[in-house]
């Protein structure tokens, strides 16, 4: 029959429980059980982990009242109290875990259980001598309490007496708010006697003030034997409705399945569990070692690849160097065959770019002047000069255009890198025109206006000095027709910058 594990077990814990053997140590014998709680003929292999469940008469429950202590004081107090209450009991544990203790210095209670059984110690020594991995030892009463804590119908009782019928008797466990505070093992299979003993046990607990007289503890029969419930009714003891088992194997199998690493209340000290702990550590070490080995292997392979890549790259670079040298020599031979000294050629080109750009265009300027003077016979050209200068018209700003927008002065063409300090390349054009001496002031102004308008109409040139503007606020004197101030009109121009590119 296949075991259907209880649903309250987590998958790893269930797998853990299924993979291990189970040894039930009871007063009459130590018995190997299957995961379903059924006896098995042969014990598991010696290297298979085993869980030990102790159901013995020599089980003592104690309570420690811990005052408001902290840290090592609290730990030491608890150890001392348990040592005092459970002297010479090698197998003992507490119901409450360390993590469940209050963080602040606050008084609280701890419940502990100890099992001082020679039969259990002998069974454990025997298994340890066989180097069997003992996963742990759990008292059956704690497993029953754990089982009860997972039953919703039993959680609400402040006092609860659990009664589990066993093949060799009856285990009774008293829970106070879910915590086991008393247990008793009855080695009697007669239901009438068991009912009587349950009644006597309740009376004993009340007489010893372990149970309040007014308290009405719930009596839960876990997998009761035949006739026990009826016998209890005859005794006048009310019984809670039975709780169905979560597996086909009954409540006892459910309780035994709780004996695993996830369940607190494990009794055995580390020396008893050393082969199990070593087995777990070995598994961890194997995994870690495998990871380390894989990392190391990866590092070795990477290093080997790096060495190979380095060798290949060395060969490749040498080959490339040979090829490139050969190509370069071929090119150099071709250049040498051409008979050209490339360095000298580059120098000549640099000199040409730096010093031998286009000079002034005198012919165009004179043609413009000729056209200008042809329509103004009452004026004479006195002087014209075209030159390449470092600064146009002595640094003057260009005249405002007709639309009133100032035009930026032309910038020298960009000087190639390394040509700083070359000869100036900005063209400056200055010319002077003298009006006829017979002209009246008004006629002079008309001639000047006409000349200025014509000059400003030269689209290829930008006017920097314009006598039309300077004459508008100048002194008008009688001797201007001669050689005095204002006798000549002077213009200064420079090529207009190219129009900006129209956005597309």
């Amino acid at each position: 029959m296949k075991l259907r594990l209880p649903s309250m077990l987590s998958a790893p814990a269930a797998a853990d429980a299924a993979a291990t053997g189970l040894l039930l140590v009871q007063p009459l014998s130590a018995q190997w059980l299957s995961a379903s709680g059924q006896p098995v003929e042969t014990p598991p292999a010696s290297n298979q982990p085993v869980r030990v469940v102790a159901d013995l008469i020599e089980e003592t429950h104690v309570q420690v009242d811990v005052p408001a202590l902290m840290g090592s004081d609290r730990t030491g107090f608890i150890q001392q109290q348990i040592q005092t209450l459970l002297p010479d009991v090698p197998l003992r544990t507490t119901w409450q875990t360390t993590a469940s203790q209050p963080l602040l210095p606050k008084a609280f209670q701890i419940h502990s259980v100890g099992v001082a059984s020679q039969a259990l110690q002998t069974a454990l020594d025997k298994e340890v001598a066989r180097k069997r991995p003992v996963q742990g030892v759990w008292p059956l009463s704690y497993l029953m309490a754990q089982w009860a804590s997972k039953q919703p119908s039993l959680k609400t009782f402040e006092w609860l007496l659990l009664c589990l019928s066993l093949p060799y008797g009856l285990r009774m466990v008293l829970l106070k708010q879910g915590v086991p505070v008393f247990s008793r093992l009855l080695l009697d299979l007669d239901p009438l006697q068991q009912a009587t003993e349950i009644s006597l046990t309740l009376k004993y607990l009340i007489d010893n003030r372990m149970l309040d007289r007014a308290a009405k503890p719930g009596i839960a029969l876990m997998q009761p034997g035949a006739g026990l419930a009826e016998a209890l009714q005859d005794e006048g003891v009310a019984v809670l409705p039975p709780v169905p088992a979560s597996s086909d194997h009954g409540v006892f199998a459910d309780v035994l399945a709780l004996a695993n690493s996830k369940t607190p209340g494990q009794l055995a000290p580390p020396p008893v569990r050393r082969y199990f702990l070593a087995r777990q550590a070995s598994q961890g070490l194997v995994v870690a070692g495998a990871l380390l080995a894989l990392s190391g292997l990866w590092a070795v392979v990477s290093q080997a690849q790096a060495v190979m890549a380095q060798r290949e790259q060395t060969t490749q670079w040498l080959q490339e160097a040979r090829d490139m040298t050969q190509t370069a020599q071929s090119i150099q031979q071709g250049i040498a065959a051409s008979g050209v000294d490339t360095s000298l050629m580059r120098l000549a080109i640099e000199v040409k770019q730096r010093e031998l750009q286009a000079g002034i265009d005198q012919q165009t300027a004179l043609m413009l002047l000729g056209q200008l003077m042809q329509v103004q016979p009452q004026a004479d050209l006195v002087r014209t000069e075209l030159a390449l200068v470092p600064s146009v018209c002595g640094g003057a700003q260009p005249m405002v255009a007709a639309e009133g927008v100032a035009v930026q002065p032309p910038e020298p063409p960009p000087v190639p890198e390394g040509l700083v300090g070359a000869e100036p390349t900005i063209v400056e054009w200055r010319f002077e025109i003298r009006p006829a001496s017979t002209l009246s002031p008004r006629a002079r102004q008309q001639v000047l206006d006409a000349l200025g308008k014509a000059v400003r109409g030269w689209s290829d040139w930008q006017v920097y000095l314009d006598p039309v503007q300077s004459a508008s606020g100048a002194v008008i004197a009688s001797n201007q027709a001669g050689g005095g101030p204002g006798a000549e009109w002077r213009w200064c121009l420079s090529p207009a910058p190219p129009p900006p590119a129209q956005p597309s």
């Binding site: 580390p270 050393r274 082969y275 702990l277 070593a278 550590a281 070995s282 070490l285 194997v286 070692g289 080995a293 190391g296 590092a299 070795v300 290093q303 060495v307 380095q310 060395t314 670079w317 040498l318 490339e320 160097a321 040979r322 090829d323 490139m324 040298t325 190509t327 370069a328 090119i331 150099q332 250049i335 040498a336 008979g339 050209v340 000294d341 490339t342 360095s343 000298l344 050629m345 580059r346 120098l347 000549a348 080109i349 640099e350 000199v351 040409k352 010093e355 031998l356 000079g359 002034i360 005198q362 012919q363 004179l366 004479d380 050209l381 000069e385 075209l386 030159a387 390394g418 000869e423």
Partner: protein, 201 residues
């Protein structure tokens, strides 16, 4: 954990020894490979240096080839114009006088050829060449504008590639003609005394 160690260590010792041995073997192999890599490093660096040097040599040769393909025609023109070598100062002034004579202006033309001015160019200094600028100022009196233009154009045409017309002023007009002052810059390169490796020009 400290209490468990003495308990578990004897049980785990064989496994720890095996794992340690495995890691030691891996470390030894890795160390051996690292040593091999280090021993190959000088050859690798040398090969890298050779490759870079060859790359630089090839880039230089390709740049020379590109320059040659791009500028050879211009360079030949500059050479033909007398930019390189020789002693052209006398030729320039003789050409000016000859042009003036051809135009019948020999009596109206006077000139001054200034002392050479060194043009500082890093490339010239690097190869030991000498670049100089020579300024020729010539003056004409009692001439017509067209004569000035003719003389200037013919003279500049004769020295295209080595000369640049820097400025010209026409002034003092009179019934007999006008005066003109013009300035021309001549450039000249004196190649290095010892020809370079591929000099053949």
């Amino acid at each position: 954990m400290n209490a468990l160690l003495p308990l578990l260590l004897p049980l785990l010792r064989p496994l720890l020894i095996k794992l340690g041995a495995l890691l030691c073997v891996l470390a030894l192999v890795w160390g051996a490979l690292y040593a091999v890599q280090q021993s190959l490093l000088p050859d690798w660096q040398q090969a890298q240096g050779q490759q870079q040097a060859a790359q630089a040599l090839l880039s230089e040769a390709q740049a020379d080839q590109i320059d040659l393909d791009t500028h050879r025609r211009t360079y030949e023109l500059l050479k033909a114009s007398g930019l390189l070598g020789g002693e052209p100062r006398a030729v320039w002034v003789e050409d000016l006088l000859r042009t003036a004579t051809n135009l019948g202006l020999q009596a109206q033309v006077s000139f001054t050829l200034g002392s050479p001015q060194a043009v500082e160019l890093p490339q010239a200094q690097a190869m030991g060449a000498r670049v100089t600028r020579h300024t020729l100022d010539y003056t004409m009196t009692g001439v017509h504008e067209l004569e000035v233009l003719q003389l200037t154009d013919q003279f500049m045409q004769a020295h295209q590639g080595v000369a640049r017309l820097m400025g010209c002023a026409l002034e003092q007009p009179s019934p007999e003609g006008l005066g003109a002052r013009c300035r021309v810059n001549f450039l000249h390169i004196e190649p290095p005394a010892v020809p370079s490796h591929n000099a053949g020009n």
